[in-house]
Symmetry: C2
Subunit: 348 residues, 2 copies
Amino acid sequence: MIPAALHEAIARIPSPAPEQPFRAHLDSLTKPLGSLGRLEDLAAQLGTLGITSLRKAAWIFAADHGIVAEGVSAYPAEVTRQMVLNFLSGGAAINVLGRLHNAPIHIVNAGVQSALESHPSLRNTPVRQGSRNMLHEPAMTEAEINQALELGLNCAGEADSRGYNLIAVGEMGIGNTTAASAIAAAITGEPIAVVTGHGTGLDAAAYAHKINVLQAIFFHHAPHLTTPDEILRRIGGLEIAAMTGFMIGCASRGIALVIDGFISTSAAVIAVALAPEVRPWFFAGHQSQEPGHRVLLEHLNLTPILTLDMRLGEGTGAVLAMPMLEAALALYMQMATFTSAGVSTATT
Amino acid sequence: MIPAALHEAIARIPSPAPEQPFRAHLDSLTKPLGSLGRLEDLAAQLGTLGITSLRKAAWIFAADHGIVAEGVSAYPAEVTRQMVLNFLSGGAAINVLGRLHNAPIHIVNAGVQSALESHPSLRNTPVRQGSRNMLHEPAMTEAEINQALELGLNCAGEADSRGYNLIAVGEMGIGNTTAASAIAAAITGEPIAVVTGHGTGLDAAAYAHKINVLQAIFFHHAPHLTTPDEILRRIGGLEIAAMTGFMIGCASRGIALVIDGFISTSAAVIAVALAPEVRPWFFAGHQSQEPGHRVLLEHLNLTPILTLDMRLGEGTGAVLAMPMLEAALALYMQMATFTSAGVSTATT
């Protein structure tokens, strides 16, 4: 039972325009046909979405995970809160990249375990101080998942009121690769081992333990993983649910999204399962080193813009891809045509 | 017999500093170890070269090729000159990208077939109006290759006097994928068919013809392809020789280079064969669709920063990669450390 506000947002998602006129313009530009490769795909997609100049931002959703009690992460849970403070003081990777590429960073406390003081750059509205331990019970109650989805929808409203039209979606949450692996296995049907990686840096023994925990989670929840919202509620997380709501809310307002790594993409997969109309509004920023990320991108039929062997999260891979989207758009808008430049076309 | 000025430049190429201190700093930053992937490699390499802020530019070398008389290109030779005019009026892809990423574009006429009028943005010093037809004679005489190498060295002097420390190296020359394929086969020993692609867009029949022409070129020159400079002189091109001189000249002045696609990389391969000390000064901007490019990058043990299925040349793939180098450097310089941010380190 997803909230009514989400149904309403889904119903408002605009359809993209046909691609052909944008491809025809690209073919008239002074370059061999198709020679800008993936940049032509990006320019055409932006065209179909009606985007002619970029107004960029990044939205980062943070939360803790009850499953961390089972020893699935190389870092202690308090790192989530510490990294949120790092975001707020401007010292994290995403801050550096946001400043470099002119994408203001917005931080959302969707469910950090310990309390955070208020700060002008923080939406400090945790649904709960950490999700429940999904080894023993659903990660969220019905009320909690609905509140998290609505938090994401409200953030999309804020993004719209600030005038952004291209948003990188990132996250911070110790333990959240475990939730993303569970979602990936449930949605795609791939075995746990195929969609589970070493997270922030597990050794071999800790990795084997993480696989065992995930198998036990599946044993517990399998009979109930029949709808995307129930998958999200039982084996997701508060920041993942908020990102799902945010993505649907942004698409409904004509805001394109650059998804980031494994966790951000697990939210995208749930969003598309709930509302296939969201899919055209997605760009995949990069290919993460987490093995499940490739599985999810293939499931969504998304080609990552960058492949830099990163596995950091925070929206870093998404913000890094923004100059490529900017380049694609600038080439589309500014290049001379064969006719205007007096350049001969191919003879064969 | 390469010119004395080139020998002197090679002798002046500085050695990079050891990498370890730069890796140690990267490991102290608030991110899981190694999680910035390739960006950490780029930051460490910039560190070893002593580069702490980027002053960017692009240098584009243009020339025509006598071999075009044999029908190896989808475009007529006059397109080289037309595209140079397009560069000078700001309408080509490289102009758009240079403006977007703050890399001023410098154009060099190394040997365009028909005369070009003078222009403030053009170094208009053709060695010869097009190289000789390598099917019948060496592409350049001894005097011509030396003049082309010295032209490149002089451009490096100009780049240095303008204060640049990171330069994208690109080219324009109808027919130059044929020269690059010939160089790739001669240097790496790979079969012609493995290092030959469809250039700017040959159909199957024209591609088969290009392969036949390349086989005939090899039959003619094979006994003499014993040194890198003789390979360059016999089966290279004027812009390729100028790029080779430019790369060596830049490295000798402590200027790092972002090489672009197949043709730019063929010049890099010759430069490294003449002077292995050049190699640490290279970044590979992207992986082109031309099959020989992958062979040359592997030969140089260079990992491309981007893979966008491009095959345009002009330095476009190199300039597109510059934001990634900028990001790598900014992350290195600006991120907080675990200690400064009070973030806990890994427990496993």
